[in-house]
């Protein structure tokens, strides 16, 4: 038998019809996650053609992108402030009812960011094909699933047929040797990887993250890594399932139970890339020398170590335009730069361990004067778990805001915005112009770096803060 990669195994198990020169493969989709922003037009299409959702049992909907994070709005004590968002919430409620799709709606205690609740509910499993009308669907690849973002037309295709037409992508192995040093996180690693291969370095490829540093990671950390595959241009990123994966999934709502569990694990063990399997490309990376990273520009590949300086480039008008937007100059040191907003949240870094990391920095300290710190858990379940551990108290005692779950300030659709010209250290995934608000200046970093910035009121090396907690 030919040696195969993880991707090839999952792909081949889902080909309803293999691709030919004239037609793409018909690929079966095991799990379709739906949210309020990219689905309304797809449901309208089904309605206009008189079509049903083919597999409601493989479709799971929630609300996250445009939903409020203020408890009074979430639980209906006051109307949702953003009127068009309120309409979108109603629309998904109507569509889910009409088409018989399970909805973890606004008031549900299982609601959350779509890429956080898939794994949390155990719906995300190794070897599955998973799609969602959202580019960060790559997150689910952390479990050894083939998961990628699609557009709304394709959302309609999957609702109607449970399949997609797809050409087979190429494979890219990212081999991460060595271990991360203390205080250096999965977020720092993925930012550094994007900085190395570039924001289109993964275009046309599915990435498999491999090596010692990846194997040593928790599921939360692996999700952070896979989540940002799209920021390197790759639609999907995958990590081979192992004992860490199985331990995470066991007992969750949609995970197989009893004898089915043992059978499933036996199948999942076969998914890892065979020795000698070939990738179209291989990139090697040394994790051991890595430092905390922070972005300085307007795409995630514009990234430097926390104690580094803004690079200078000659005759590069795009670089100059980006720095002008950011209010930075080439050669300037980033550490010490005052900031006004800190956002800990998003599908990249709003899971329990991310909040614990931020809390370990903020515990017993105060958010600097003039800084707004917003902490938005990834799901309602994470919110409850964090509260059970007293993290909410640590944050609010420090002067940070503790909110209901959702995408929130990552893209500011719900009114959680950064003002024009303000610097925001954010644990989210995109520092694009205007992403967090018109004129907002986003600096992407880990939860530790974000929390340290909140306390210091300026960009600072988080390791100083983490070390003082350990004593």
């Amino acid at each position: 038998m030919n040696a195969k990669t993880l991707f090839e195994k999952v792909w081949e198990q889902h080909q309803v019809v293999p691709e030919t020169a004239d037609t793409p493969a018909v690929l079966y989709i095991d799990l379709h996650l739906v949210h309020e922003v990219t689905s309304p037009q797809a449901f309208s299409l089904l309605r206009s053609l008189g079509l049903k959702v083919r597999r409601t049992d493989r479709t799971l909907a929630t609300m996250d992108h445009s939903t409020p994070t203020d408890p009074d709005e979430v639980f209906g004590r006051v109307p949702i402030k953003v009127e068009s968002a309120a309409k979108q919430v109603k629309e998904l409620e109507k569509n889910a009812r009409e088409f018989g799709v399970e909805l973890l709606g606004l008031g549900s205690d299982q609601r959350g960011i779509v890429h956080v609740i898939g794994p949390e509910q155990g719906a995300t499993q190794p070897g599955k094909t998973i799609v969602c009308g959202d580019s960060h669907t790559a997150t689910h690849g952390a479990f050894g699933a083939l998961a990628f973002g699609i557009g709304t037309t394709e959302v309609g295709h999957v609702l109607a047929t449970q399949c997609l037409l797809q050409r087979r992508p190429k494979t890219l192995a990212i081999e991460v040797k060595g271990r991360l040093a203390p205080g250096v996180t999965a977020k720092d690693l993925i930012l550094a990887i994007i900085g190395k291969i570039g924001v289109s370095g993964g275009t046309g490829h599915v990435i498999e993250y491999r090596g010692e540093a990846i194997e040593a990671m928790s599921m939360d950390e692996r999700m952070t890594i896979c989540n940002m595959s799209i920021e390197a241009g790759a639609r999907a990123g995958m990590i081979a399932p192992d004992e860490t994966t199985f331990a995470y999934l066991k007992g969750r709502r949609f995970a197989p139970q009893g004898a089915d569990w043992d059978k499933a694990v036996a199948e999942w063990r076969k998914l890892k890339t065979d020795p000698g399997a070939r990738f179209d490309r291989v990139v090697e990376f040394d994790a051991s020398m890595l430092e905390p990273m922070i972005t300085y520009g307007t795409h995630p590949g514009m990234v430097v170590p926390i104690n580094g300086s803004v690079p200078t480039r000659v005759n590069d008008p795009v670089h100059d335009k980006s720095l002008a937007y950011m209010g930075l100059t080439g050669g300037e040191k980033l550490a010490g730069k005052p900031i006004q907003v800190v956002f800990v949240g998003s599908c990249t870094n709003a899971r329990l361990s991310d909040l614990e990391l931020a809390a370990s920095v903020m515990k017993g300290r105060k958010v600097a004067k003039g800084v707004r710190a917003l902490i938005v858990p990834g799901s309602q379940q994470i919110k409850r778990e964090a509260e059970a551990r007293g993290l909410d108290k640590i944050f609010t005692d420090a002067g940070a805001e503790w909110r209901e779950s959702g995408c929130s300030m990552c893209l500011g659709m719900n009114g959680d915005l950064v003002d024009k010209g303000q610097y925001a250290v954010s644990t989210s995934n995109r520092n694009f112009e205007g992403r967090q608000g018109i004129g907002a200046r986003t600096l992407l970093a880990s939860p530790a770096t974000a929390a340290a910035a909140a306390i210091a009121g300026r960009i600072t090396d988080p390791r100083e803060y983490l070390q003082s907690v350990a004593h």
């Binding site: 004239d22 083919r54 309609g156 799209i230 335009k321 694009f432 992403r435």
Partner: protein
Amino acid sequence: MQPIRTIESKTVVLPSTNIDTDQIIPARFLTTTTKEGLGKQLFADWRYDSAGATKPDFVLNRPEATGCSVLVAGRNFGCGSSREHAPWALVDFGFRVVISTEIADIFRSNSLKNGLLPVVVDETTHQWLLANPGAQVKVDLETNMLTLPNGTSVTFPIESFARYCLLNGTDELGFLQQQADAITRFEQGRA
């Protein structure tokens, strides 16, 4: 979907690299539940000032942009968010072709489903197009050729099935629905 065969038009040039879909249409406009009328919000933060007034200097606001259906953009156009609102806005504004050296995967896939043709060209052709905004070009999907004003032609790659759908104005959904028996067999085989 409107079929595409030949498009002849002057070009509009946005030379920036890595133009992401948040620039093409900012997230605050995604609370819509329809596809219509998004052209007004295309490149909203580049086209309008904070008071909502049109910025006369921005290339899409200049008189020569009127009626242009070919957009030439810097490398890695359409990166970032999967929002199909990006091609919806471009098509509603009047674009039928986007030319670059590299076009992001999800954006390309979304464009093909909305009658917006992504054309990937070599570096030399791209440099010429960037340096000559307003050039009259011809994009022929029947021959996969882009012809420049001096008569030189270059071929561009396009996935064969997407090309068939664009030429005929056909949606892929019909093809998928014809696979219903194969899909049912596949589902039964795994049960």
